[in-house]
Symmetry: C2
Subunit: 230 residues, 2 copies
């Protein structure tokens, strides 16, 4: 890795921040100046600085210049967990069990999330995921049947809802919310967790241009945690 490569410069700049040469909140030299100092193209300096800015270490403004961020470690990249991969990565055997699937009226909070009108029904699917036959996570999912009519006939005992949707729905947008919840009786039974145990919850919603597809809460086993990928 050359010193004047993007990554090389990145490291160099990181060093100048760590050493305190570029103090917190201080203005650092302009791209042109740095390109001159390191004898490389401004584009290269730009990309190095941008990558640091993406991570929240620098704040950049046109004309205002580039400053070291007051509060380091502000952004984290999270790999959104895919249960099958998580389980098989640890060497455990993956499996899942379809707990229930029914067409019913969702409560108002789910209705809002899926953008349904009152009295409209949706498909409610519960799935238990296992690692080496031990409960790993419990999934509580609502699917909009208007968007995915075939869902009621999908062979969800053989393939998990998630994987079936990925194969069936060409593509979708999504968002994610992390939270904590006490296990309710059903979930604690399924996960073999203590009653009221604190569980880590990942909620995902996915949609396409013309409507919501699914809203899903995954309750992980006790002690589960999620590490930032850097």
């Amino acid at each position: 890795m050359s010193v004047t490569s993007r990554h090389g410069l990145r490291q160099t700049f990181l060093g100048r921040i760590h050493s305190g040469e570029w103090a917190l909140g201080a203005l650092i030299p302009s791209e042109a100046r740095l390109a001159d100092e390191y004898d490389c193209a401004r584009t290269t300096v730009n990309r190095a600085l941008q990558s640091l800015a993406d991570e929240g270490l620098l704040i950049r403004k046109r004309k205002g210049g580039t400053r070291v961020c007051q509060t380091p470690v502000r952004k984290a990249k999270i790999d959104i967990p895919i249960i099958r991969e998580q389980v098989t990565e640890t060497g455990a055997k993956y499996s899942h069990r379809l707990v229930s699937r029914e067409l019913t009226e969702p409560n108002s909070s789910v209705r809002q999330q899926l953008g349904l009108s009152p009295k409209q029904k949706a498909v409610h699917i519960k799935t238990l995921y296992l690692a080496n036959e031990r409960p790993y996570a419990f999934e509580d999912r609502w699917v909009n049947p208007a968007m995915v009519p075939k869902i009621m006939d999908a062979p969800l005992s053989e393939i998990s809802v998630n994987e079936w949707l990925v194969k069936t729905v060409p593509f979708s947008n999504g968002d994610v919310v992390f939270s904590a919840a006490n296990a309710n009786p059903e979930i604690s039974t399924q996960l073999k967790a203590k009653v009221a145990a604190a569980l880590f919850v990942v909620q995902r919603r996915t949609w396409m241009d013309n409507g919501f597809i699914t809203s899903v809460k995954v309750f992980y086993h006790e002690g589960y945690n999620l590490k930032s990928a850097l």
Copy 2:
């Protein structure tokens, strides 16, 4: 935003994925071909594709080409919460209360996290954060006094530990872990939460080249959640 700009291309490519023209798992045209098709520089195509790859929508390999990722929404960017900002953003009044500060021997798990040897002492600091005088989060922090000797004299009633450290320690690396925990008696009292309530926990460790600085767990009030920043 021009069609042949980086963001314009990004949108166009997203459209081709959404529409199913570029199916999940399928190989898409090479950068050179796309640059030709849209009559722009290959660099521009490259940056558009890279941004999609960064978000986990594409997988790229030299010689292997670029494929649509089988599992969309795989990565999320998280803004690591800064309590003062979180509170003031909602319009509430921010304050904090120093609960305790003592030099003591940490348990083995904390000792490992800070990289201390047995019987070495560390500073244990507990802080309660409030929004409009209502408990918002409880912080349980260990600081390595070898790295930050002045910590015992810091005016932590006036300035929160976190902000004091940011001002005092020039810069540091860090990592983050998210999890869930049941409130223990002390925490539930402080946060005025139900006993054993499920709390969202953010644990952070920060270090410099020559040693660990601090390890901190923040327990948020009941119902708190963390949304992905896209």
